[in-house]
């Protein structure tokens, strides 16, 4: 168990490399359009791979005939369920053993959602493949489907009636009840505490299957290496997990798979599921030829890996002086047709929301995760926390409104504080937390005191403000591992090989900054590379807000070893004891006051000798793992203007105040925060997900799924209230996911403050606001 470590007083302005806004090392290659993404570097002769998708939400393939498809000139293969290994696996990219059910085949005789792949066709060009797809004859036995996740548990229609699904954790028998995972946890006695409350409120909130929409669609290129092994170049956040998943899917040894990550066009969690890799992999395995798949945007929506739809029922009770006594949350989560990240996202609805109020006397959390015949969900930035924070930070305002209490004061009275154990956060104390300062700053910047709750502008327009808090983790405690290798070259610069996947966030640059700070060198002295699973040290991947915190510490530890070796080898060259040597990044020299005469050696001269054999090569590798996942915190405050005749919401100002520990690169922290807030605003107001009665997704393009454009996001401001996290690299925590969590509740609260209308279902479109307004009039 990690114990509380008091925040040290560190002046972060003294740092030379960290807490500095360096340009991303790959910035100019990206902005000048160099060929660095998967589809740019796939070989030109790669077979084009496409999928035939099921038109039914639930069906059995009675007969499938590909003979006519194979007659199309240029077609290389057309694979069906008869051609793939009959061994189930998961595409959830998680550390082994994955807490996701092994419930997939590459192709299955039973199709479980509209879009579930039915056949894989590969050919010389897109036209031939498109033609062949149309010539595949499939006879389906159409079955009834479970589409409403509220009716899935114990439904007589089973999404997975098959036997032998490997599960972790536990409960294999529950699959025959459409249940993936369930449970409950409690501290204190919530019922007892509720009975002592002056106010008790219970409300239900609903969030939908939002899509991440990274601008680069799912893309994978597969080829055989000279040894006959499968080499995958793919747009992934998790090269090492993809290696395992592809080996499982193809039922071949893991040593026969190599995964290379080039530059990635965004992920946001979508690419933490191995969505596209298995299809070209099996084509290349079967044909011996290179092949590639490039998903259409429609496929990214209809067969991607969106956010889990959730319904959260919250009960909260307070005494009239604003002391919250108890909170109870039940989450029902819809994992869709397959369980990818279903068992793990659900927990964050509580651990990253109830923990904000971690010191109240009693909390209870219970949950059910169920299968349905809908698009399988996966990881999306925030990973359950976003949904949970929407529910909890909404009900806090609802309770305050019921009590006629100031909603910000209600928060301040019940905030978690550093040093106190937080039950829902593995019962560990939080080392660093600046939430109180974040609240004060956000209130000040948005002008809360003069604007709360609303101002009628005349002209049917109302302005109002809303506020919400949020937290996340920094890596997964006791699970995430990251490795780093550093070598001193014979010319005195360093080569740093990381397994961490830079998916556009700039983590290669951030890790280089941490190395620079540790070694006292310049950014140009660090050559960073990754990821190639044949060469790079293991890293769990770009997820769970882990790279800066976990991989960053692996960099610090590796640099300590490198420094030690530099001193050891210098001592040999200088003929002095290592104890009297110091290294300042450029030279190694004897410390003042040492008995022997002053001696020094430049790093360049030392490095040159490693190439000529008189001293040993200098190279080190370290890994890091943490028993503690320090939460970064944030307060979001928004000012909106609502047109009461149309329900249109305009964002006048959005202020995000963050405690993410030391910002290793303040520019990149700010961009993460602005980008996360923009995504959160899209989720809150516009990004709708609707299915027709037969389970077909209707919002499957940018025409019908509206993500924010630059006309929608014009006034987002970011400020930092950094703490210094003692367990992180130079005081850093995380930032990547945290930042998507405040817009949904902050906007719901602002809309309620403006209109009196409380929306508990996302997205809060103008139509919904208008309908609710009409109902209240």
């Amino acid at each position: 168990m990690a114990n509380y470590i008091e925040e040290p007083k560190v002046d972060i302005s003294k740092f030379k490399a960290v807490n500095n806004s360096f340009r991303k090392k790959d910035a100019l290659a990206l902005t000048s359009g160099k060929p660095v993404y998967t589809d740019d570097i796939a070989s030109k002769d790669a077979l084009i791979v496409k999928l035939l998708h099921s038109p039914h939400a639930h069906a059995l393939i009675e007969d499938i005939d590909v003979s006519r498809a194979l007659m199309v000139p240029g077609i290389e293969c057309a694979l069906t369920y008869k051609d793939v290994p009959d061994k189930r696996f998961t595409i959830a990219c998680q550390a082994y053993p994955e807490p996701s059910n092994y419930d997939r085949l590459i192709l299955d005789r039973r199709v479980r959602f509209v879009g579930d792949p039915v056949a894989i066709v590969a050919g010389e060009d897109e036209k031939a493949v498109d033609k062949a797809l149309k010539l595949i004859k499939v006879k389906y036995e159409v079955l009834d489907a479970v589409l409403d996740f509220r009716k899935s548990k114990d439904n007589e229609i089973l999404v997975h009636p098959e036997d032998g699904i490997k599960t972790n954790p536990f409960f294999p028998e529950q699959i025959k009840r459409n249940i993936v995972f369930y449970g409950e946890t409690e501290y204190g006695d919530v019922n007892e505490e509720f009975s002592n409350c002056d106010y008790v409120l219970e409300r239900t909130y609903h969030t939908v299957q939002n899509n991440q929409t990274p601008m680069e669609p799912f893309t994978t290129f597969a080829n055989l290496d000279p040894y006959g092994r499968i080499t995958i170049v793919s747009s992934t956040q998790t090269p090492f997990h993809v290696r395992r998943i592809i080996a499982n899917a193809l039922d071949i040894p893991k040593s026969q798979v190599r995964v290379v990550k080039p530059r990635i066009g965004g992920g946001f969690g979508a690419k933490q599921s191995s969505v596209s890799e298995m299809y070209p992999a099996i084509v290349t395995l079967k044909t011996g030829k290179p092949s590639k798949i490039f998903y259409s945007r429609t496929e990214c929506f209809s067969v991607g890996s969106p956010r889990h739809e959730m319904e959260m029922t919250v009960k909260i009770g307070s005494t009239k002086d604003g002391k919250i006594r108890a909170m109870e949350l039940h989450t029902l989560s819809n994992t869709g047709a397959y369980n990818e990240h279903g068992s793990t996202t659900v927990g964050l609805t509580a651990t990253k929301s109830l923990s904000l109020y971690g010191r109240i006397p009693a909390q209870k959390f219970s949950f059910d995760v169920v299968y349905t015949n809908k698009v399988p969900s996966g990881a999306y930035r925030g990973f359950g926390a976003t949904q949970g924070v929407f529910a909890i930070e909404s009900i806090i305002d609802e309770l305050a409104s019921e009590m006629k209490f100031d909603p910000v004061k209600l928060r301040e009275l019940n905030l978690l504080t550093p040093g106190e154990a937080v039950f829902m956060y593995e019962n560990k104390p939080v080392n660093t937390c600046n939430l109180d300062k974040c609240i004060a700053k956000a209130k000040d910047l948005i002008g809360w005191d003069s604007k709360y709750p609303r101002k009628d502008m005349g002209n049917a327009k109302v302005r109002s403000v809303g506020l919400a808090m949020a937290m996340q983790g920094s890596g997964i405690a006791n699970i995430d591992v990251a490795g780093v290798e550093i070598r001193l070259s014979d010319h005195g610069f360093y080569h740093m090989n990381v397994g961490a996947a830079d998916i556009g966030t700039g983590s290669d640059t951030i890790l280089s900054q941490i190395a620079c700070e540790s070694l006292g060198c310049t950014m140009d002295d660090i050559v960073v590379s990754g990821v190639d699973t044949d060469v790079s040290p293991y890293d769990a991947g770009a997820y769970a807000s882990s790279t800066t915190y976990i991989t960053g510490m692996a960099v610090v530890k590796t640099c300590e070893k490198i420094t030690d070796q530099i001193l050891t080898q210098s001592a040999r060259m200088l003929g002095v004891s290592k104890d009297i040597l110091e290294f300042d990044g450029k030279k190694i020299f004897t410390i003042k006051g040492a008995d022997s005469e002053y001696k020094e050696l430049s790093l360049f001269d030392l490095a040159a000798q490693t190439g000529s054999g008189s001293v040993d090569m200098i190279s080190a590798s370290e890994s890091h793992f943490s028993e503690y996942s320090p939460p970064p915190f944030m307060v979001g405050a928004v000012e909106i203007e609502i047109d009461k005749t149309t329900g249109k919401v305009d964002i006048i100002d959005y202020v995000g105040v963050l405690d993410c520990g030391t910002p290793i690169n303040p520019n990149l922290v700010r961009i993460q925060a602005e980008g996360g807030i923009a995504q959160g605003i899209g989720m809150a107001l516009w990004e709708d997900v609707q299915f027709n009665a037969k389970g077909k997704l209707l919002n499957d393009s940018f025409m019908s799924y509206k993500i924010p454009s630059r006309l929608d996001i014009r006034n987002v401001r970011i400020y930092l209230e950094p703490t210094y996290e003692p367990t992180g690299p130079f005081g850093a925590k995380s930032v990547g996911e945290l930042v998507i969590n405040t817009p949904c509740p902050a906007l719901a609260n602002a809309i309620a403050n403006a209109t009196g209308v409380r929306l508990r279902e996302l997205p809060m479109t103008s139509e919904k606001i208008m309908m609710a307004l009409l109902c209240t009039q």
């Binding site: 902005t31 589809d39 966030t505 700010r670 961009i671 006309l711 014009r714």
Partner: protein, 173 residues
């Protein structure tokens, strides 16, 4: 059928199918800065110039470019470096996948403004012109900061002026 399309000043004679889209023609010929992000002409990733005018190459037939000049970012490397530098100084390229189409549209906007001898423009003009270039990473604020600085360097003032604020205190510097 045979077409002759001049790409970045280099004439290409190619046998193509009449339904080939310009994006595929360009990518097949090695101009991979042209990115694909959707099928509905919404994302702006595939923006190139046809006789100097920005077009979405995903919804322009290659045939339409027969006998005409097409410019991709490969043909505008100096400009890409210059504008890209301003974006990079904000960390606002992030994944970079939308950058080529975005920068092609910025160049088109700048060329229009310069041909009109414009010395000032409003923030809204920038946002409207570029609203068809989607980005999912940055939330657009960094782009706007970069563009205000870039156009100032080009003698075009964008109003309202950029407020340089301190990340820690929020104070205007």
């Amino acid at each position: 059928m045979e077409v002759k399309i001049t790409v970045n000043g280099r004439p290409l004679k190619r046998e193509i199918s009449p339904d080939l889209m310009l994006i595929d023609f360009l990518r097949n010929n090695g101009y991979t800065s042209v990115k694909r992000g959707c099928e509905t002409s919404n994302c702006g990733l595939c923006t190139v110039h046809l006789n100097g005018i920005p077009v979405l190459s995903c919804s322009t037939l290659a045939l339409r470019a027969d006998g005409h000049n097409v410019t991709t970012l490969e043909g505008m490397q100096e400009k890409a470096k210059e504008i890209g530098g301003f974006i990079a100084d904000e960390g606002a390229e992030q994944c970079g996948y939308c950058s080529p189409g975005f920068i092609m549209n910025i160049i088109a906007m700048e060329n229009e403004w310069k041909s009109e001898n414009k010395t000032s423009a409003s923030e809204h003009e920038i946002l409207s012109y570029l609203s068809g270039n989607l980005c999912r990473c940055t939330g657009y604020m960094g782009h706007l900061r970069a563009l205000k600085k870039y156009f100032a360097s080009q003698g075009i003032e964008i109003t309202p002026k950029l407020e340089y604020t301190d990340d820690y205190t929020g104070k205007v510097k």
